[in-house]
Subunit: 523 residues, 2 copies
């Protein structure tokens, strides 16, 4: 094919100077554009099925109940707000009827905005918006050069830098990897500082202890102002059920701190169907619904109107080996079904990402990740944790995977724009200009839309075999290796008011001293 | 996780003897189960947009016209059936109004069945059915051991064997690869024999010349009986427009032979947006609609009621380099939109597959293939060419890619089943049996559904990093290499009536002699 028309030649010359064509083709853009999808969500459940799942979850909450472990204060809050309590040893089984559940759920807002320290990067949560965040929680990291190893604070900082530099990552996330080289008691402080100092995007709070949640809120009060974060949350924090049908003191303790401070909670049942839930998707969705609504009820009891996200982390195990599977057809169906349930209650929905069970970014990883991400977009997920970097069922943060996933997020953003059918989109002048059997590349219509017509790849490569082979037969894994290194080389730290930085550092220094002295810890 | 309950242990022992757990884990199943999707198709166009695209395509057919090159007989048929003809040198520009087009289109059946020589493998086309066929047309083949090379008849036969052995491949396809070591004039005979002898699934006819189409029909008359294939087609054949807005003698000559013999035609515009169509998807869909309907009109004029499929092969070019791109967001949107257009006319729809621009099955190939396949399933495609084996924009048939794609077809089949919400699916006994925080693997409900609950992977691998590393860090590309070799080793040819085989061989021998002598060729 030829690109020899003068207009396109000049376009190509222009591109050579734009930075996109140099080196790996990856360009840093200091901007985010949270997605507002034009697509009508794909649905796998008809209205009857949605109601059946709703009713089943209400029956679970009324008759089976949810166990609260080691946190009687939470059970007492439930009791005072309409629940029945049964004591099971030191734990309490909490049961609620539908009216009570629905009353509390109706208090939660359908949409809210999470603040970022760069106001242009604050993110809208809910409605038709899709926000991409990073992989959360892996103990290990992997890259092509060094293989798998325990994550360190340097890795954490690197991922914070990469999240900052990738335009389709809208949100910096939380535990980018476990910084195993930092004392576990102080680790949350280092992680929060890495989010704040190396990026200017929104981030998540610590949930490893109630006191760590308090530190997260205090640091945001310094960064944003205490009044400001009471109007719009500066934190979204991940509250997992210890499924099936159970919450513990660690998670409900953190939830309490965040809810009382008006910070957003992301209540997510942790479901591997076949292990933590039944093997059938209908039952699993009913259980997920019961657990998610239960956690959101608690937030609303503590602080009616508290921004709350209906979370879904739902995969299945291989029944033969017990191994977790990702990107499966069952996962996709459940993701779509979960979205329908969240919409039934007018709650923002968290699910999806770029999931895979594979250990390296091989073909399997590509297929599985794309399966999940496609469901994420078409299902209408609002907040997407694990959108970049996930490997081995979440046990590893992958440097190359992060970059490859990021490409797919850019593609997803384009997909969500749908098909425009304005008069200009019918290209009547092009059909008049181009003869049967002719070529549209040089047409005036193409030239008018050259810059925005198609998604432009930054890492995926379209070269033919001959060119590809001549340039060293570089597969996408290796290409991504060059990209993250380039990004870290070119990285420039975003500015932060020195007074604020000083205050934050003073807070962290004081808290480290308290923690080392044993004071106020596990208070 | 543990699988130590006695029930699951015995299941696992049973599995060890079933063949699934041995070697690569891949099991030959001599059966196909064409998919009948329970999912409501995903739609990207509202009703207004569908009508706008319809009206735009009608305007293209009425005012711009389609050029027929070197085949005046076809133009004459159009003229006799309501079209206006304008002469353009030796070609004719054919213009039709909406009423004429819609009248002919309404003659085409909404569904039909294509015969396979194994009657249990005949395939339903249209409605909610999804039929997976193989990669079509690559001049090259590639495998991990030998790299890229020109395809040979041995490769063609190998792919026919693999198609036969893979249960989620419902249809053997057509040009599995170009057998470059066979004289181009006789090649179609060798390809047809490879489909017939090495598999028992349905296949496609030759379109390289009118006379080759006649040979295809004659061989099916021998194989199925002349009367039988007049009631149900034994061939589906791929008629490409030489887009934009043009058909030639080769394709319309073949279409004529097939339509007159009552064999199915698959009319497919060949569109790389930005090159063969405008850069906007609305205009591209309108052009595709015009070209596809035009070809189907011709089939209906020749033989009203001729089984006809509305084809879409629609990707886009990288405007910077002119390189074809696959698995892009624009492709997916167009695939969904095209399905909506085909449904508007109650025509079976062909599109999708496992497309990639990548040269090897790397991460990019996985992402891009899954993107296309997901749209294929959710969009409601009926006939899926290129469902397995496609690499480098269709220039290579990949042995490993074929196996990896096949895994995704199995997953797609499960996806299309949707979520069942019968009483048993709510697993009430499991919730009664499993305590909060407990484990569902050993529950009676899990045991009842153990065999069918989840899609069981045959090539993708869920092992954790330690096990995976201990077993040689085998990525999915390498794993697939073991599988296709195992399949070819274990391959056993399906039986064929010796009298029929003899008749076919006699026909082929006679035709080879005629072709070599120059008789009847290009008649």
């Amino acid at each position: 094919m030829t690109t020899s028309t003068s207009a396109t030649s000049s376009e190509r010359r222009a591109n050579r100077h734009s930075g996109r064509q140099r080196g790996t083709g990856f360009k840093f853009v200091d901007r985010i554009t949270p997605i507002e999808s034009t697509l009508k969500p794909f649905e796998v459940l008809d209205g009857d099925a949605v109601e059946k799942i709703h009713k089943a979850s209400m029956r679970l909450l009324k008759d089976v109940g949810i166990l609260i472990v080691d946190y009687p204060a939470a059970s007492e809050t439930f009791r005072q707000n309409g629940a029945r309590i049964e004591h099971k040893g030191s734990a309490q089984l909490v049961k609620m009827d539908e009216d009570t559940v629905m009353n509390w759920i109706s208090q939660a807002p359908a949409t809210f905005t999470q603040l970022a320290r760069n106001p242009a990067k604050s993110v809208p949560i809910g409605g038709k918006h899709i926000v991409f965040s990073t992989v959360y929680g892996p103990p290990f990291v992997i890259d092509l050069d060094r293989g798998r190893r325990e994550g360190t604070i340097e890795d954490f900082q690197n991922f914070s830098k990469l999240a900052y530099m990738c335009e389709h990552i809208h949100h910096n996330g939380g535990t980018l990897c476990e910084p195993n080289d930092v004392d576990v008691k102080e680790r949350h402080l280092d992680m929060l500082m890495a989010h704040i100092l190396y990026s200017d995007k929104a981030f998540m709070g610590s949930v490893t202890h109630k006191e760590n949640a308090r530190d997260s809120v205090r640091m945001c009060e310094v960064l944003f102002g205490a009044d400001r974060i009471r109007k719009n949350p500066a934190l979204i924090s991940l509250i997992n059920a210890s499924s099936p049908m159970r919450f513990d003191d660690r998670m409900f303790g953190a939830l309490e701190v965040y809810a009382l401070a008006g910070q957003a909670v992301l209540v997510t049942p942790f479901l591997m169907a076949g292990a933590m839930s039944p093997v059938s998707m209908a039952a699993t969705l009913a259980q997920q619904n019961a657990e998610a609504l239960f956690g959101i009820c608690y937030a609303q009891m503590l602080n009616p109107g508290c921004p709350s996200i209906y979370g879904s982390f739902l995969a299945n195990i291989d029944l033969r080996s017990g191994a977790p599977c990702f990107g499966t057809p069952e996962d996709s169906l459940a993701l779509y079904g979960g979205a329908q349930m969240a919409r039934r209650y007018h709650l923002p929905y968290r699910s999806g990402g770029n999931f895979t069970a594979s250990r390296i970014p091989d073909t399997q990883a590509g297929y599985e990740s794309a399966n999940t991400l496609m469901a994420t977009i078409l299902g209408g997920v609002n907040f997407v944790l694990h959108a970049a970097g996930w490997l081995e069922g979440g046990l590893m943060s992958g440097y190359e995977k992060f970059i490859l996933d990021h490409e797919t997020l850019g593609m997803a953003a384009r997909l969500a724009k749908g098909i425009s059918t304005d008069e200009e989109d019918f290209a009547w002048d092009a059909f008049a200009e181009v003869e049967p059997g002719g070529h549209f590349l040089g047409s005036a219509h193409t030239i008018r839309h050259y810059e925005t017509a198609f998604y432009q790849h930054s890492v995926f490569n379209m070269d033919n075999y001959e060119k590809w082979e001549a340039e060293g037969s570089v597969d996408s894994y290796k290409r991504a290796n060059g990209v993250w290194k380039q990004l870290l080389r070119e990285y420039q730290q975003p500015a932060l008011d020195p007074a604020v930085k000083e205050q934050l550092e003073a807070f962290v220094t004081a808290r480290r001293a308290e923690i080392k002295s044993g004071k106020l810890i596990r208070a």
